[in-house]
């Protein structure tokens, strides 16, 4: 861990009060994000991958509570008062979402929404702000930028809207950019361009990027390190080549083997992970993946495996110590 940590998250838990009692979306998350790196966060719906970062940003729903610690440049930011958070967001960290249309105001021009950021956070005049916004749109390769500023969000294509969101997020040169499924709603051709853009921006500005996605292909293209989440817990974390080439958790194995992929010969049947996604309202004593795991032993039902280091910055939470390779084919 030579590189400097920009953000340190320690023992972060997120809990929602619901009609059926408390639901734990995230349990004891521990990780760092370093300057200039892309940290991939992969998991399925309900894995807690988004809620972790909404908690860090102070954007949880009203019935949500976050516990633990998140330090940005050494300063505690978890559960700060809204005013302080608002200053932090859009200034030192920013977040973009899957559907840019819902994150934009349909009644305001793109220019109005972008200049507002600079007027609020940087105290720039309207005219100065406008010039900066034109430059920002150009930096995400939107041509004819000055004219585009007077257009409304619906006049842009999905890919262009996501570019505008990225440009807006980068106006204040944040140290940390959190991208929640930034390309999930886009066509593959546009996705490839947005990923290339994110890569270019992190190299140019040394912005740290957290890339939240369910898509292992997207992570493979951009991430330096990867954390795999299941049922609100980190199950494995490693440098990207280690994770894809030498994974040690049965869930990671299941995910990687059940994706149809073009770089390998076609198989008659897809490998699957049997069973169903976990019910978060139930908190089992043991490993949450145990009901679906091909390597389950007695201890898995009794005790939650801790996240332990396998050396070389490779962490995993699993009791099973033998060889993998038994993921179910065609269940």
């Amino acid at each position: 861990m030579a590189a400097e940590a920009l953000l340190e998250v320690r023992n972060l838990s997120v809990c929602f009060d619901t009609g059926d009692g408390p639901v734990y979306a995230v349990n004891g998350l521990d990780l760092e994000v370093r300057r200039g790196e892309v940290l991939g966060m992969v998991g399925e719906s309900g894995s807690g991958k988004s809620q972790s970062w909404l908690a860090v940003m102070g954007l949880l729903a009203k019935n949500g509570r976050a516990e633990g610690s998140a330090r940005l440049g050494g300063e505690e930011i978890l559960n700060l008062p809204q005013r302080a958070l608002r200053r932090l967001r859009g200034d030192r960290m920013a977040m973009i979402f899957q559907d840019p249309m819902t994150a934009m105001n349909p009644f305001l021009t793109v220019g109005r929404q972008m200049t507002e950021v600079l007027e609020c956070h940087r105290g720039l005049s309207r005219r100065e702000a406008r010039a900066r916004c034109v430059a920002a749109l150009e930096s995400v390769h939107i041509g004819d930028a000055a004219r585009r500023l007077s257009m409304y969000p619906h006049e842009f294509s999905g890919g262009m809207r996501q570019r505008v969101m990225i440009a807006t997020a980068l106006l204040t040169e944040p140290q940390l950019l959190i991208c929640d499924e930034p390309t999930t709603a886009l066509d593959v051709t546009v996705q490839a361009q947005i990923l290339a853009l994110l890569d270019e921006l992190r190299q140019r500005y040394r912005t740290a990027i957290v890339l939240i996605t369910h898509d292992l292909g997207v992570i493979a293209q951009l991430a330096d390190r990867v954390t795999v989440m299941y049922a609100g817990r980190q199950v494995e974390q490693a440098e990207v080549h280690t994770l894809y080439g030498a994974y040690r958790h049965p869930y990671t194995e299941g995910l990687l083997r059940s994706v149809p992929r073009l770089d390998q010969p076609r198989s008659e049947r897809l490998a699957t992970i049997p069973g169903r996604p976990p019910d978060l309202a139930r908190r089992p004593a043991g490993c949450p993946f145990e009901p679906r795991c091909a390597y389950v032993t007695e201890i898995c039902r009794q005790r939650m495996p801790p996240l332990v280091s396998l050396g070389d910055a490779h962490l995993r939470a699993c009791h099973y110590d033998g060889a993998l390779g038994r993921a179910e084919i065609g269940a």
Partner: protein, 329 residues
């Protein structure tokens, strides 16, 4: 194409009028499906791929007459569907069913699982008695991996993957020949997606089904389809056997799509360059002259501007491109 086709589609057009602001301006025409022709052979899976807005969902709905057809012909076992009266169409509905993308949105929240699966039986086989209907529903539930005990549950009690199983049971309970699957696994999680794909393949083998499998994910389509049709701006760009298409795509658009699919291997993913094509799609209301793809195509020349390429046969494959020979080389 010696085998008689189960479904024959010829020169199919689906146009929508789009009103423009202003009192006297005439509406524009959106050609969502434009001169589309293809066959579906009995027992095969025809994959239909393309970006959003390419007309793949409109096409699937038009085939089932869920939306009106503007012109052209759709024949199921030789019977013309486009001109049939509603009442005459009804018996044919048994032969053609559809599975939708969003499993929860396509199930009536006020009906139990049993009622949902029984509904097409009631509508299409009204003379079937209650006991037999119940038997069929239970058998179908078992085949898609639902438990008999779940028959009185409501859709919201199910996860996305389970809800899609209900949607599949509802489509298959009337024993159709042809099932149009419109992005049936796109909304599902990775670990559930592969379960549902395997289920669709099992059911096809058991019941001798024919699928039209519409999806934007080319890796999934490679897994399930025997042949693949590539659409762009409502037009067919290429129709080819699966292995040939993925090994050597002849149309520049097919190549563009394939080159953009992310590969879950960090070493390979980083070796590839991002797709160089321009992002901006033409407006579907003002398509370019000649070839619809020419504004994004690296091979485009004067001929592509002047002349719309027709779908022509090259080595047993069908491609609509003036430069197909060069592209495939």
């Amino acid at each position: 194409m010696s085998e008689p086709a189960l479904l024959e589609v010829r020169d199919l057009d689906v146009h929508f009028p789009v009103r423009r602001p202003g009192l006297l301006r005439s509406p524009l025409t959106l050609r969502a499906v434009d001169q589309v022709s293809f066959d579906v052979r009995p027992g095969e899976v025809l994959g239909v791929v393309g970006e959003s807005g390419c007309g793949k969902s409109t096409l699937s709905r038009a085939l089932l007459r869920l939306i009106p057809v503007t012109a052209g012909s759709v024949r199921l076992r030789g019977v013309e569907l486009t001109t049939l009266e509603k009442a005459a169409l009804r018996p044919l509905r048994r032969s053609m069913q559809m599975i939708f993308q969003d499993p929860l949105a396509s199930l009536d929240p006020r009906m139990t699982v049993g009622e949902i699966i029984a509904e097409p039986l009631k509508a299409l086989l009204p003379r079937m008695d209650r006991a037999e209907r119940q038997q069929r529903v239970l058998r179908m539930m078992q085949q898609v991996g639902l438990l008999p005990a779940q028959i009185n549950r409501y859709p919201h009690e199910f996860s996305g993957g389970q809800a899609q199983r209900i949607g599949i049971a509802r489509a298959l309970v009337v024993a159709p020949e042809l099932v149009v699957c419109d992005e049936p696994v796109s909304a599902l999680d990775v670990s559930i997606k592969s379960q549902v794909i395997n289920l669709l393949l099992d059911l096809r083998a058991e019941h001798g089904l024919t699928y039209i499998f519409v999806a934007h994910d080319l890796a999934t389509v490679r897994h399930i389809a025997d042949r693949v049709m590539v659409l762009y701006m409502g037009r067919v760009m290429e129709i080819t056997d699966r292995d040939a298409l993925y090994a050597r795509p002849l149309h520049p658009y097919t190549r563009l799509l394939l080159s953009a699919v992310p590969i879950p291997d960090p070493t390979l993913a980083r070796q590839r360059r991002a797709a160089p094509a321009r992002e901006e799609l033409p407006s579907p209301l003002a398509l370019p002259s000649g070839c619809a793809f020419r504004t994004r195509c690296p091979l485009a020349d004067a001929r592509c501007v002047a002349e719309r390429p027709i779908l022509r046969e090259i080595d047993g494959r069908y491609v609509a491109c003036h430069h197909a020979e060069a592209a495939g080389a």
